[in-house]
């Protein structure tokens, strides 16, 4: 498809501006010419060109509303339309962040209550809603760990991270000046307790654990893990990316976690928007509340207000108050589902993952054969050995069947990993159709491996050359490229 710049024709326009109703003075008399620009190089198109361009692009994009999207660890559940409708109400969109509190009582109440709801669901003392994404919440969480030990006057230089953790974990830790120490997993896909005991010293600030972990397995020894970490004065951090597995079933706070970050765009159904905006609230236990970012919304009698007076706070991690409009959607979702609905969501998310695991187990290698939580992880190694077909080929072939592929090559501890997260919002027929496609692909891999290696065959573009893109980067268009 042509670029919007390639469709540009001098003199076309898609907007109309109001006539200036105040006396005009030439800009050059107000601002020195040396501070002004010559030209603005933006496309010139008519409104219909604009609409057809972006409608055309949208038709080359795959979303949850088009089909099954079992991307592991990303919780691509259905995004209820009511949430969008509510979030577009002018009462929520039109307010300036510096509007006086008295004009923003609805927003403040929503944020105050959302914090309370999340605290109850996860068993934490309090939450901040300021972080703009999961990774941002995680960075905020590690900053709080740093502040906690700073205030205690303890120098701790390391943070423990399991070998199967999300890549953001070590990155967040490194950005707070800690050294990353890897904890290995045991044969059943949990934390190796002996290894943990050996590594957990008084120089270690804590352990960042994803639970259920990235194999989709619940950490059975969570009590011992908690005891080992806390026994040496460390903090236990929960990467809450997989929180869709346990709503109303268990609570990280009860399990001994001191900190948890969430992803409202995963667990609480706010749309992923092609990679954002999301929101990454961070919950903490009682001892860590003083360190949460500022400002915080508080209740004063029957009114709500902002309060920035927390001297031990790590400070601000974002301007204003976070991705407010995303919070509106998550709040609406919690009110729609209620306590029974949240529990039913998790139960069915877990049932669906186990159903897929059972249906596919004879066709793909299952490296950890246990009851799984909301996702299951297979390996494509059998296909590599039998027919030289790799996981990426299986994923690309799934595109021809009309499905978004699972997460692939993650977690790193599983070779040729295929990580499937079906979510609770998918019907049995959809799950069956996906399993049938995976089974058909396993057969194709044996009988006609070339069909997979050259896939996809039905998409608007064929397999793309990533190596060329990285070797000769072209990240901005210019007229010379034509």
């Amino acid at each position: 498809m042509e670029l919007i710049y390639e469709k540009s024709r001098p003199g076309r326009r898609a907007c109309s501006l109001p006539v200036c109703d105040v006396p005009e003075i030439p800009v050059e008399q107000l601002i020195d010419r040396s501070l002004l620009r010559e030209d603005v190089d933006l496309p010139e198109v008519a409104e219909i060109d604009l609409v057809r361009h972006y409608t055309g692009l949208s038709r080359r994009n795959f979303g949850v509303d088009i089909g099954f999207y079992p991307l592991g660890s990303c919780t691509m559940k259905y995004n209820p339309k009511i949430n969008e409708e509510v979030a577009r109400l002018p009462g929520f969109t039109a307010l300036h962040p510096y509007a006086p509190e008295i004009f923003a009582q609805g927003n403040l109440e929503l944020m105050y209550e959302l914090r309370k709801y999340l605290s109850e669901i996860f068993g934490m003392a309090d939450f901040t809603l300021q972080p703009a994404a999961g990774a941002h919440g995680e960075l905020t969480g590690v900053m709080i760990i740093k502040k906690y030990f700073e205030k205690k006057g303890q120098k701790r230089s390391k943070v423990l991270i399991p070998d199967m953790a999300h890549g953001t974990n070590p990155a967040s830790v490194a950005l707070c000046g800690f050294q990353v120490v890897t904890v290995h997993s045991n044969a059943e896909g949990g934390v190796d307790l002996e290894g943990l005991r050996g590594l957990m010293t008084e120089d270690v600030a804590g352990l960042m654990l994803t639970n259920p972990n990235t194999l989709g397995l619940f950490e059975r020894n969570i009590e011992e893990v908690s005891n080992i970490v806390h026994g040496k004065g460390g903090l236990l951090y929960c990467d809450g990316a997989n929180a869709n597995a346990f709503l109303g079933i268990t609570r990280p706070g009860d399990l001994g976690f001191d900190i948890i970050h969430l992803n409202l765009h995963k667990t609480f159904s706010t749309p992923h928007g092609c990679g954002g905006p999301g929101a990454g609230p961070l919950g903490v236990s009682r001892d860590l509340v003083p360190y949460l970012p500022v400002p915080r919304v508080i209740q004063k009698g029957r009114r709500y207000a902002w309060d920035g007076n927390y001297p031990d706070s790590i400070g601000r991690v974002r301007s204003f108050f976070g991705n407010f409009n995303v919070m509106v959607k998550a709040y609406t979702y919690i009110r729609s589902l209620g306590p029974e609905g949240l529990k039913r969501a998790s139960e069915n998310a877990v049932l669906n993952a186990n159903y897929i695991k059972e249906r596919l187990r004879s066709y793909y290698q299952l490296p950890y054969d246990r009851i799984c939580m909301h996702e299951c992880v297979f390996s494509g190694e059998r296909q590599v050995k039998e027919s030289g077909v790799h996981t990426t080929d299986i994923a690309k072939r799934l595109l021809d069947y009309g499905f978004h592929p699972p997460t692939i090559y993650f977690p790193l501890i599983v070779r040729e990993a295929i990580m499937i997260e079906p979510n609770e919002t998918e019907s049995r027929e959809t799950l069956d159709a996906f399993c049938d496609a995976m089974i058909a692909i396993a057969k194709e891999a044996r009988e006609n491996p070339e069909l997979l290696k050259s896939a996809p065959h039905t998409t608007p573009v064929k397999r793309l050359d990533d190596v060329l893109a990285a070797r000769k980067p072209d990240v901005c268009w210019s007229i010379d490229c034509m």
């Binding site: 005009e24 010139e44 198109v45 969109t93 009110r335």
Partner: protein, 441 residues
């Protein structure tokens, strides 16, 4: 309403396949004593109509003003109808990060076009797919500079938005870097002498903003030499993106990084978010900048296509060697910005002129009030600080007339305790301005 499609029969059949008698068995790995034996204490489920009614009531507890004179990092602009329509297409908003390029060409091409628009507007060679907001974009540019140069000092001019400085301080503290603040002169612009004195061999970067927090336009070219002489990087920020339509781009004036808030481009004020952080740099940082980048390539039939590229910069591969932990962007906000910019086209310049004219008229009219004085004589875009006899009273009077007044700059600048920061965009009509002045007269 829980959006679970299973019937009782579906569940029974699936449980049979899994080999369990009850759903409870699925959670066998969770130690029994940690399983919640009660329902969560949350309000009960509601029907869609009830939820809508309830939420509408909550939204209505907010009182949007009839006239807005507030800017200070979030701006009231008209959003053309096409913007909302495009970003409401669920092929876009229900998709995730384009990991599977062949079925994500729509957003990948849109991001590539966004990067192109941003690079052209900022006078740089490279722009990423966006950051969380303007403040984190500035903080990431500061941290990246320190990591590249292996230097531990960040210099920031006090006329940078106070919340941006706070975020920079939080990120710097976490990384163990020192932050030094330098002042501004009477014009409201950077005190170049003080800045020069603050830069030393350990200075990684100098953070400035134009237009700055006071609305005053800076000349990055005037400080660029002092920064580069010591081998430091110049980061130039902005909060009002529409100013890019008329002001000389900071990239052309010698900034190494141009970062700022993109909200003004087609995103509602939304009580502070979601917004998008614009992040652009000179070509030399192409392989270092944080966040996502869309790049052009070809498919095996040699047709043009787009992919996420230079992923080796990304956290999921670099892990503990990462210079940033960001692994997403504000894609839908960036899409809104692209549609907005394609819609405005070259008229972005005229929109910027309208902002300048309205602000000039508002400023001139407010200065007719008794005891009101300009705080800074420097040139401004659509915001300016005025000193007035009783800022608190001024805002109260405006508030009772349904008008959102100016930002009380005294909150962050004791020397400007009688100062209010006002903003006028194309949304402000002459009649509104005259109304404001008559209320305050």
């Amino acid at each position: 309403m829980d959006y679970v499609p299973h019937t009782a029969e579906d569940q029974r059949a699936m449980m049979k396949t899994v080999g369990i008698q009850s759903l409870e068995e699925l959670f066998a790995d969770i130690p029994t004593r940690y399983r919640l034996r009660r329902l969560l204490e949350l309000p009960p489920a509601q029907s869609e109509a009830e939820v809508f009614d309830f939420m509408k009531g909550m939204g209505d507890e907010n009182v949007p003003p009839r006239i807005t004179l507030m800017g200070a990092g979030s701006y009231h602009h008209y959003i053309p109808a096409v913007v909302g329509h495009v970003i409401s297409r669920s092929e876009f908003y229900t998709a995730y990060t384009p990991y599977q390029a062949e079925i994500s060409q729509g957003i990948l091409q849109a991001i590539y076009e966004y990067q192109t628009m941003v690079a052209k507007l900022t006078g740089t060679q490279v722009a990423n797919a966006s950051m969380y907001d303007g403040a984190t974009a500035m903080a990431e540019a500061a941290v990246l500079s320190a990591k590249i140069l292996n230097r531990g000092k960040i210099v920031v001019v006090k006329s940078v938005h106070p919340e941006y400085r706070q975020v920079v301080k939080t990120y710097a503290w976490a990384n163990g870097y020192e932050v030094v603040e330098t002042g501004y002169r009477k014009s409201g612009q950077i005190d170049a002498e003080a800045l020069r004195a603050a830069i030393d061999e350990n200075t990684a970067t100098v953070l400035i903003q134009s237009p700055n927090f006071f609305g005053v336009i800076e000349d990055p070219g005037a400080v660029e030499k002092a920064v580069h002489e010591k081998g430091s990087y110049l980061v130039c920020g902005f909060t009002e993106a529409t100013s890019l339509g008329i002001l000389k781009p900071a990239g052309e004036a010698g900034a190494d990084f141009v970062v700022g808030e993109g909200q003004s481009f087609g995103n509602p004020m939304n009580y502070g978010g979601p917004y998008l952080g614009i992040f652009a740099s000179t070509g030399q940082f192409l392989r270092k900048i944080p966040g996502r980048l869309a790049g052009a390539t070809v498919d095996k039939e040699k047709q043009r296509g787009f992919v996420l590229t230079l992923q080796t910069r990304e956290q999921h591969i670099r892990r503990e060697k990462a210079t940033s932990n960001i692994c997403s962007n504000e894609a839908l906000c960036a899409l809104a910005a692209s549609v907005y910019l394609a819609c405005l086209g070259k008229n972005l310049k005229r929109l910027a002129e309208l902002n300048i004219q309205k602000a000039r008229y508002l400023r001139e009219r407010l200065l007719t009030l008794k005891g009101w004085e300009p705080a800074f004589p420097g040139p401004v875009y659509n915001e300016f600080v005025l000193r007035c006899p009783d800022p608190g009273r001024v805002n109260e009077n405006l508030q009772s007339a349904g008008i959102l007044g100016g930002y009380d700059v005294g909150r962050h600048f004791p020397e400007l305790k009688d100062g209010l920061l006002f903003c006028a965009t194309e949304m402000l009509k002459k009649d509104d301005i005259d109304d404001v002045v008559s209320i305050l007269a």
